[in-house]
Structure formats: structure tokens, C-alpha cells
């Protein structure tokens, strides 16, 4: 069968010594930054991106992907042990995971989180392998109108499902699109918004914006707060969950995986949405909902499976359509571009080793995380004791070296400093920067496809609703907005995202 042939080929690529090594570096770094609050996968991948130029494409992508899903693991470890979500998606895990730890059941909580994530990882590897090729085939038939509508849907979803006010998020998308225009217009050769600065005619690198906002801006913001970090380390005795634990967790894990996979394929949504939804579902389904919040194992198993499934399924739209499904995925596509590979549906046929190697490596990486992390928990917890005043200069050093190596010039550094200040302002005003970054990446693509679509249709804007696939995306876009504006959903959303 094709499926198994492809997967077998993928494993033969991923199991090469070099790729295994990069997979290990990726998941190790990922867990590290997942444990450490104040630095997320987005900033880390952005910093490391220029350096991947010296690494073969498959190995580079395997490493960057490892950082991404490794961070989800690390985030849940600290959520359970110290009630501190290393990543936003782990906020849910804190609720019942920390309670389990306080009851002396930290071991089973960590183990079930790992088992749930691994199960989700395995299922999603199969899902990508099954649905990737037909989706890519379909995408090859996409024209300019379809791409424009799909990107519009992704941007609206990203804005609408983000934290906070919807219009503010949409305005941030527009801000990103506007920033994306800076540079030379491909159609007319005209330099736009370059203010006569020659370096700006090439446009702003998205690494500059990502590091500026998510590393420098974040540090400025953190330094305003007084540091208070209580490390509660319970002794971990008995790692293995009981038979009863496994039995109660089985269906939550399966449900969590399906919820995560669903949100994963949808462009624009983040893993936090998936894990919150899974928690809600488990609480609804439980015979005794009052156990939730007091150390119910289902409250750890479901959301953990969901966030890992989401993280992994985000690769489906990204790799098959060439449309980044989240800001982190935009960086993955950036890594491809650095290697001289144009993202899009043709990647799967032209670079099968890249696609299948990456898919197989995700399964291997998940296995590594299970095997490595449970014994290394002591190390991660001791890392939490490193004070922030020592941590942030190190983040600054890595950021600066990473940025400087983009073009071997300090112009990018100065721009990054400016975006650090702008990013800090955005955070203060609660204008969410993640939708902005997605808009920035998709901006040039969107303008290009809009122009092409209207050129083909001779200026007739109905082209977006007369072609069936494009119409489907447009309807989905409207549906997302309508559902989110419905009073019941609005109230619940406010309760969830705060």
C-alpha cells in the first residue's frame, strides 16, 4: 500500500544518524524552552532560523519541528510540578495536573501527559500520511481566487480566535499586512514604504519582527514585573499510573486527539483553543464533574493529547498548501525558503524525502520525548531555579547573534530594537501580536493572488464566490465570524480567554 511505502520511506530518511541527532537537539531544546517561562517556541525558532542555513533542509526542518512539539511537553511538565504553565496551551494542564501533584500523584500525572501526547502524536502522524497527498493534489488545482479566499479564512480565524477583542485582533492583522507591503512591489518594481532607506527596499525580514516582538518586547515587559516564582517540588514517587488511571484516561485521550486534530487542520487557531475545548468536553462527559479541579486524571489526559494533536496537525495545511497555519508554521516555511525551496503543494512530489522524513521524525521525536523526559524531570525542575536576571541576557545574546547572521549586517539589529519597543507597546495596549505576524507573512501572497484573481476575471469581484472551492472558504469565513458573534459563544469565549 502507498501509505506504508511512504511511511517506510520516511522512516528510512528520519533514521539516518544526522537526522536522528538533529531531532534529538530539537526536542531537547524544545523541552528546555517549554520549561522556561518567558521564552516560547516562536522566538526560539526565529532566533535559530538564520543558522539553519548551514544545515541540510531535512535536518533543519526536523530540528525546528522538534523545538515546536518539544515545547508542548516541557510546558506541561512545569504546569504539573510547579503550577506554572511554560506555554499558553499548558494553562489547562495546571488545573488538575497541579492538584494531582499536591496529592502525591505527580508521577502518574506526568506519565499520563506523556502517554496522551504520544498517542496523539502517533495518530496524527498517520493522519498526515493519509490526508497529506490527496490534499496536496487538490491544492495543485487551486487558482489565485482559491488561495486568496483560503488565506482570508486563515487570517480571520487567527484574529477571531485570539485572546481579547475581535476588532483589535483584526486591526492587528491589517497592521501585519501593511508591514508586509514594505519593500519592492513585484508587479511594478516600485519601492513602497521604504522611506528612501536602501535596506528597506528588500522588505523587513520576518525574523526581525518575530525576535523583536516575541523576544525583546517580551523581556522589556517581563522586567516591569517583580519576579516571584515559587518552586514547589514534590518528591516524585512511583511514575507508573495504575490500571484504573489508564482505563479512565483512554477515552479522554482519544477524544482529545480528535478535537486537537480538528482544530489543528483549521488555519489560524492555536493549541490553547484545542486544549481548552478538550477540557470542557471531558468535564461535560464526566459522571462526576465535581472531581474536576481537584485532580481528575481526565483533565490532564484529554487536553495534553489535544494540544499535541493540534501542534502536529498544523503541519497539514502548512506543508500541503504552502499556507502557514500559525505564526510558528510561518517560520517553518521561512526555513524552507532559506533553503531555496518554494513552499506549496509541489513540495510533496518534488521533495518527498523532506515531507515524509519530517512526518516520520515527528513520531520518532515523540518517542524520544517520552523516553528522555520522564527520567530528566529532575533536571528540568532545577532549571526553574535559574533566576530571570541571568536568563534574559542569554536570550538577548542568542537573539542578537541570530539577527546579525541574517545578512551579516547590523541594520537588522537596529530594526529589531525598534520592533522590540513597538512590540512592548502592543503588549501594554493588549493588541495581540500573533495575528499581526500571520498577516505580515501572508500579506505579499494575498496581494499577489488578489491582483491575479481580478486580472483573470477582468476586474469582476464575484470571482471569489462563483468558483466552488473559493465559495466554500468564503462561507467558512463568514461562519467563523457569525459563530463567534453569537451571544452564547461570546460569553463562553470571554470566560475562557479572560
Amino acid at each position: 500500500m502507498d501509505l506504508f511505502n511512504n511511511l517506510f520511506f520516511g522512516f528510512s530518511v528520519a533514521l539516518s544518524l544526522q537526522n536522528l541527532w538533529f531531532c534529538f537537539i530539537g526536542v531537547f531544546l524544545g523541552t528546555l524552552i517549554g520549561v522556561l517561562p518567558g521564552i516560547g517556541p516562536l522566538a526560539t525558532i526565529a532566533m535559530l532560523l538564520p543558522i539553519t542555513f548551514n544545515v541540510p533542509p531535512v535536518a533543519a526542518l526536523i530540528m525546528l519541528a522538534g523545538i515546536y512539539y518539544g515545547a508542548q511537553y516541557g510546558g506541561s511538565t512545569t504546569a504539573i510540578l510547579v503550577n506554572l504553565p511554560g506555554e499558553t496551551a499548558a494553562v489547562v494542564t495546571c488545573i488538575d495536573g497541579y492538584q494531582m501533584a499536591r496529592q502525591g500523584r505527580a508521577g502518574p500525572a506526568l506519565a499520563i501527559a506523556a502517554i496522551g501526547s504520544f498517542f496523539a502524536g502517533t495518530v496524527c502522524t498517520l493522519i498526515i500520511a493519509m490526508f497529506g497527498p490527496p490534499l496536496a493534489e487538490m491544492a495543485l488545482k487551486f487558482g489565485a481566487p482559491e488561495y486568496f479566499s483560503l488565506m482570508l479564512m486563515g487570517l480571520v480565524a487567527a484574529a477571531v480566535l485570539a485572546h481579547g477583542d475581535m476588532i483589535k485582533s483584526l486591526a492587528m492583522v491589517a497592521m501585519g499586512l501593511l508591514l508586509g507591503i514594505i519593500g519592492t512591489d513585484v508587479n511594478s518594481g516600485m519601492a513602497r514604504y521604504s522611506f528612501g532607506i536602501p535596506e528597506l527596499t528588500d522588505g523587513i525580514g520576518f525574523i526581525v519582527i518575530a525576535v523583536g516582538v516575541f523576544a525583546v518586547g517580551e523581556i522589556v515587559s517581563n522586567l516591569g514585573e517583580t519576579e516571584e516564582r515559587k518552586v514547589f517540588t514534590s518528591k516524585i514517587s512511583g511514575l507508573m499510573p495504575t490500571k484504573e488511571d489508564l482505563k479512565t484516561s483512554f477515552w479522554p485521550i482519544v477524544r482529545g486527539t480528535s478535537i486537537g486534530a480538528f482544530f489543528g487542520v483549521l488555519p489560524g487557531t492555536g493549541p490553547a483553543i484545542a486544549s481548552f475545548s478538550s477540557y470542557m468536553v471531558e468535564k461535560k462527559m464526566a459522571k462526576d464533574p465535581s472531581r474536576f479541579g481537584k485532580g481528575a486524571i481526565e483533565g490532564v489526559a484529554g487536553p495534553e493529547a489535544a494540544n499535541n494533536a493540534d501542534a502536529q496537525c498544523k503541519f497539514i495545511p502548512t506543508l500541503t498548501l504552502g499556507i502557514p497555519a500559525s505564526a510558528v508554521m510561518a517560520l517553518m516555511l521561512g526555513a524552507l525558503t532559506i533553503q531555496g525551496i518554494a513552499p506549496g503543494p509541489q513540495v510533496m512530489t518534488q521533495k518527498p524525502d523532506l515531507f515524509w522524513g519530517l512526518v516520520a521524525s515527528m513520531w520518532i521525536g515523540n518517542l524520544m520525548l517520552v523516553i528522555l523526559n520522564l527520567p530528566l524531570i529532575g533536571l528540568w525542575v532545577s532549571l526553574l531555579k535559574v533566576p530571570y536576571r541571568l536568563l534574559f541576557p542569554a536570550i538577548m545574546a542568542f537573539s542578537c547573534i541570530g539577527i546579525y547572521s541574517v545578512n551579516n549586517s547590523s541594520f537588522e539589529l537596529y530594526l529589531t530594537a525598534i520592533f522590540g519597543l513597538i512590540g512592548f507597546m502592543w503588549m501594554r495596549l493588549e493588541c495581540p501580536p500573533a495575528p499581526m505576524l500571520l498577516g505580515f507573512v501572508l500579506g505579499p501572497l494575498m496581494e499577489e493572488n488578489l491582483r491575479r484573481a481580478l486580472l483573470i476575471s477582468r476586474g469582476d469581484p464575484t470571482v471569489f464566490v462563483t468558483r466552488p472551492i473559493s465559495l466554500g472558504f468564503m462561507i467558512a469565513t463568514v461562519l467563523i465570524i457569525v459563530i463567534m458573534l453569537a451571544p452564547a459563544v461570546k460569553a463562553r469565549r470571554a470566560a475562557i480567554t479572560g
Binding site: K168, R192, P393
Partner: protein
């Protein structure tokens, strides 16, 4: 009730959107607009700027409500000034003096952004990180930067 404008989150956010959108449209008026059939380079930015101004007005209106939201948290003016300076110094020293001087300046200066600056600790951090980064980035990854310009490396 007097409107608290200093800490009014949405008022400032709305103003930011309006100014950015308007500036975008104002600059784009020099670019050929074209038509829907043949869009000029000015079409997309102008429309986008207009949308931004409209959304900015909505957000501004949120800030004019009686129970508007306030900006939360504290601000570290020290970090706001010191961190960008540390990056600029790093950039200048990378071009003029090499990797080691740049790192040796970046780490203590950026560490000074925190109120809990301790000399001995920062000295140790500077030496440790400089060695670690030189080993990792220059020797292992082979980034082509001289350690000290004219003396050591390339």
C-alpha cells in the same frame, strides 16, 4: 466623570491604528492606484489603510466608554532604554571590533536592564556566555565572524 486618558488602553490602541492607517494611505497616494482590473501598487495599501482607520475609530470609541479598560502592570523605564542601547552597541562592535568585544559589551549592558544587577554574577555570566557562544556559533556552526578584528580569526 473625567476621562482618564493616560491609562486608557483602547483610546491609545485606537489612536495607534488610526495614525498608522492614515499614514499608510497618505504615503500611498504617491503610488499609482490603478483599477480593480489592473491594480497599481497603490491599490492594496490604500484600501488596507482605510480599513485600519475604520477599525481604529471603533477601538477608540471603546476607549471613550465610561467603563473603559485600563493599562495593567508596571513599566520598567530602565529596561525600555537600556535593552535597545545594548543591541545598538552590539551591532557597532560586531562591525568594528569583532565577536568577543561585542559579546563582552552586550551581556553586561543588557543585564543592567534588571534592577537586580550584581557585578560578580554578571562578570561570570559574560565570560561563560561569550565562551559558550564562540564555541557554538563560531567553531561548531562556522559563522564567519572574527573573534577580535585584525587579531584573531578571519
Amino acid at each position: 466623570m473625567k476621562l482618564e486618558w493616560r491609562t486608557n488602553k483602547d483610546l491609545w490602541a485606537g489612536l495607534m491604528y488610526i495614525v498608522t492607517g492614515a499614514l499608510g494611505m497618505w504615503i500611498a497616494r504617491d503610488y499609482p492606484f490603478g483599477s480593480a482590473l489592473r491594480m497599481g501598487p497603490g491599490y492594496f495599501p490604500s484600501v488596507l489603510g482605510g480599513i485600519m482607520v475604520a477599525m481604529g475609530i471603533y477601538v477608540l470609541a471603546l476607549g471613550l466608554r465610561k467603563n473603559h479598560e485600563k493599562i495593567q502592570g508596571n513599566l520598567s523605564l530602565r529596561a525600555l532604554i537600556v535593552l535597545p542601547i545594548s543591541m545598538i552597541v552590539f551591532g557597532i562592535l560586531m562591525e568594528e571590533a569583532g565577536f568577543i568585544p561585542a559579546m563582552a559589551a552586550l551581556i553586561p549592558i543588557s543585564a543592567a536592564a534588571s534592577r537586580e544587577f550584581k557585578w560578580l554574577e554578571v562578570l561570570g555570566l559574560t565570560v561563560g556566555l561569550t565562551i559558550l557562544c564562540a564555541a557554538g556559533f563560531i567553531f561548531a556552526l562556522g559563522l564567519p565572524y572574527p573573534l577580535i578584528k585584525g587579531l584573531w580569526g578571519y
